[in-house]
């Protein structure tokens, strides 16, 4: 496994990988079992670092299907035993009762998933679940994450605007408190650029 794939893998886990890079990693994962093991280890490590319950959930298939515009396999979240807090876009929202998401929504949610690095995708049958060492906070999130609203295009757009407002407010406060003048406002530009990637 080459150095570049290694870097891409950690970028993926950190949620800092673009679509091209993502495709490359996923192809590599399919062909290379050492690489695949590493990917699972990275996911575990990143969950451990966040002090959370660990699940070695293989996300690669769902992501690949999504970026290829295919309908995704039905997703069965293991809400009772598994908690993956980076499962930001509660993927159960794309579950069959809503029908498959429109390709735009898939693209949007995958862009988010790429930014986040992880999409909640679990296949009960071949997921080895490690003992749940998590303490209260993780459990709280696991139980409340059921409440997260379902995701559609309008919500993603609203979410994007909301996030921008939060960022601007945070920056307004930060610019007054960090002894660095207005420099924190430079960050807002980067966010807008990152936001352009989404439809």
């Amino acid at each position: 496994m080459n150095e570049r794939i290694n870097e891409s893998l950690s970028a993926l886990v950190d949620g800092e990988c673009d679509e091209l890079e993502l495709r490359r990693v996923l192809n590599e994962l399919e062909q290379d079992s050492a690489c695949r093991e590493k990917w699972l280890r990275y996911q575990m490590m990143s969950a451990l670092m966040r002090d959370e319950a660990v699940a070695t959930v293989d996300l690669s298939r769902g992501i690949m299907q999504a970026i290829d515009g295919e309908p995704m396999d039905e997703i069965t979240p293991l809400m009772t035993t598994v908690h993956q807090s980076s499962a930001s876009l509660d993927a159960k929202a794309d579950a069959p009762q809503r029908g498959w998401m429109s390709s735009v929504a898939v693209a949007a949610s995958v862009t988010l998933a790429v930014l986040i690095g992880v999409r909640f995708y679990a296949d009960v049958n071949d997921v080895p679940v490690m003992a749940n060492h998590s303490t209260a906070p993780a459990a709280v999130v696991a139980s409340t994450s059921n409440l997260a609203p379902e995701v559609d295009v309008e919500q993603l757009e609203h979410g994007q605007r909301m996030l921008q407002e939060y960022l601007l407010r945070h920056t307004e406060h930060a610019a007054l408190n960090q002894g660095r003048g207005m420099m924190p406002f430079a960050r807002v530009a980067t966010f807008e650029r990152a936001g352009d990637a989404q439809p």
Binding site: D14, A175, M182, T190
Partner: protein, 309 residues
Amino acid sequence: MIHRMAYFVVLLFSVPLMADDGQTAREWLERMSLAIKHVNYQGTLVYGGRTHWETLAVHHAVIDGVEHEKLLHLTGDPRAIIRHGAKNDDRNPSPANPLTQGLIHASADLSAVYELSLGDQQRIAGRMAQQINIMTRDRYRYSYRLWLDTSTALLLASELLNLEGQTLERLQFADVEIGHDIPRATFEPDDQAHFTAMPVQSLQDDQHDSLQQWHANWLPRGFSVASQSVREDEQQRLITRMYSDGLAAFTVFVHFEQEPSMPSMVRQWGATTAVVRYQAHEQQQVRIAVVGEIPKFTAEKIASSITRP
């Protein structure tokens, strides 16, 4: 033998110097937080992360004791951010005046959570700059390298480093003029889109109550509330509270919306992380958002620790 003697002499003198290193670095930082408010400067600021760069024109002046700032984007859509401050009065810093808050925080006990040291002097934007290293002592925050103008202590460049020592964000003046008069008209809005930053308002007592109801049960060491506000209308209520350790900052939002319509998410771009979560409260979904320049797991841990007692 003479060489060896010389070596010993150097050692003798360098030991106390090393011990003072952190203290000297702190003094530089205090000078920096004063300079950024009191010194007139304008220049071109380059800002970038790992993937791309932006350029901005920055103007800062104190005119008749009032601070004015303007940040103009030179890349992308033309837009500007303008800020007019209150009168500077640092002899009597008060938390009610947000413009003096930076000073209070700059003198917070940074050395408890960061290891401060002096680096080399380098040339930046055509001026000599002193490098200050600010390395985190734990895994809950990022590290920084700052370059301050040797004559005015103005911040000329900064780097934000993640836990692996990779640079997530760079800010650097490409050129800068320090100490010149800048006409008042510079800070008027042009035709282009602009955003005027408002001074953070102080709180009324009843608002303070509703703030106290929601708080983080876990914070990384050294962080304390730097500013807070409540905004309320018929559709929503938004509680905003910013925490700072003197350098790093994050903001916690507790948002009651009639129709919550935003997915829960974790996002990172450049140095910034955003975590959005929901909590049930009196048959309502309350959105908890944490946005700031902190690592992802710190933001997630804070977000999941926010409760209403």
